[in-house]
Symmetry: C2
Subunit: 210 residues, 2 copies
């Protein structure tokens, strides 16, 4: 049974790639589903879970609510850190459980690390900055108002968060090729075509592994 994890740089088209790959292979696709399952288990709002997962908060990122006492602020920070750990614990359980159900593709959420002891095909999807900026522009009309430079900064910020989150929980460097079996550069490529070619690779791999 093949399990695929897709880690992706923001704007690289990694999510679209993962979705197309799952469709091609008729595998189950897990992305926001992970968030929903964790939210349900923890009886918390999915939006709140989404804001935590893959976003490692430094103290500076926690709203400080000017006017409240330092003690209260420190407590907020503590709760936030505590939730972070609880969410990661739940996320680990959920990903393990979903991975038992059948062939599937996971997007992000440290799934490559969480499933490291299984025979998982770990894919990393990346692209050069101009390609990522162009993709972000295509994807959202509101990005029209941003300069290329500002978009590049936003892209870097999202990835810095993912990097810190990943490193905090896995003690590994996010994006280090050694953590993946296959790294794919999407710059200048059609994502659906790429997904189709990788799908045949996955099928061939299944055939050869028996």
């Amino acid at each position: 049974m093949t399990i695929i994890t897709v880690s992706r740089e923001f704007g690289s088209g990694g999510r679209e790639f993962a979705k197309s790959l799952a469709e091609e292979l008729q595998f189950t696709y897990y992305d926001k589903e992970i968030i929903r399952a964790v939210a349900e288990e923890m009886n918390l709002d999915p939006g709140y879970i989404d804001s935590i997962m893959e976003h490692m908060p430094g103290i500076g990122l926690i709203p400080l609510n000017i006017g409240r006492s330092f003690a209260a602020t420190a407590l907020d920070a503590q709760t936030h850190y505590f939730d972070n750990d609880r969410v990661y614990g739940e996320q680990t359980k959920v990903i393990h459980e979903l991975s038992q159900r059948g062939p599937c593709v996971f997007v992000g959420r440290c799934s490559d690390y969480i499933l490291r002891d299984r025979n998982v095909l770990r894919i990393f999807v990346y692209a050069d900055m101009p390609a990522k900026v162009a993709r972000c522009r295509e994807r959202s009309a509101e990005n029209e108002n941003f300069t290329d430079r500002l978009l590049a900064k936003k892209i870097k910020d999202v990835d810095s968060n993912r990097m810190r989150y990943y490193q905090y929980f896995t003690d590994q460097k996010w994006g280090n090729p050694l953590n993946y079996d296959l790294c794919l550069n999407t710059s200048g490529k059609d994502i659906k075509t790429l997904a189709k070619t990788v799908a045949v690779l996955v099928k061939e791999r299944e055939k050869l592994q028996g």
Copy 2:
């Protein structure tokens, strides 16, 4: 017409992979052939060409022949640098020429950079250090006498040379994933199986590109 370049970390099995891939696809395989062609064109010894290509000599690496004057030594160094540039020029011509002849796989020699304006599939093959050490041990009986640590050092040295050579002539960082379309981790993998799976990906890519 598909042209593939394979850049590889020393000990990653990249050459074996490239050879198997070429066999699977019935593509022409260019490796030492590049050296022979350059040697012939320049009317120089293939062994000498091999010692230059992908080995960027720092001054320290040139035999200093104690007892000879500084002038002679400086001249040697100059000749060596001069040959380096001439070899690279010839290598560029040879790689361009070979790439016109039909579907093929090139191993190393900056072929990914030299053919950057063509529609080339650029593959980078890498592995973790324990896998590379194990592969080097398998490959050569003489490596039996080396400790793992010493073998690791030798592996790093070869790659440092390739890195400097590549950077000197291309002004790019060797091994930077952005310079490749596909990066493959061979750690714990069977190279022939990997070549077979990538071969079906190449065929699918040809089909989809029409």
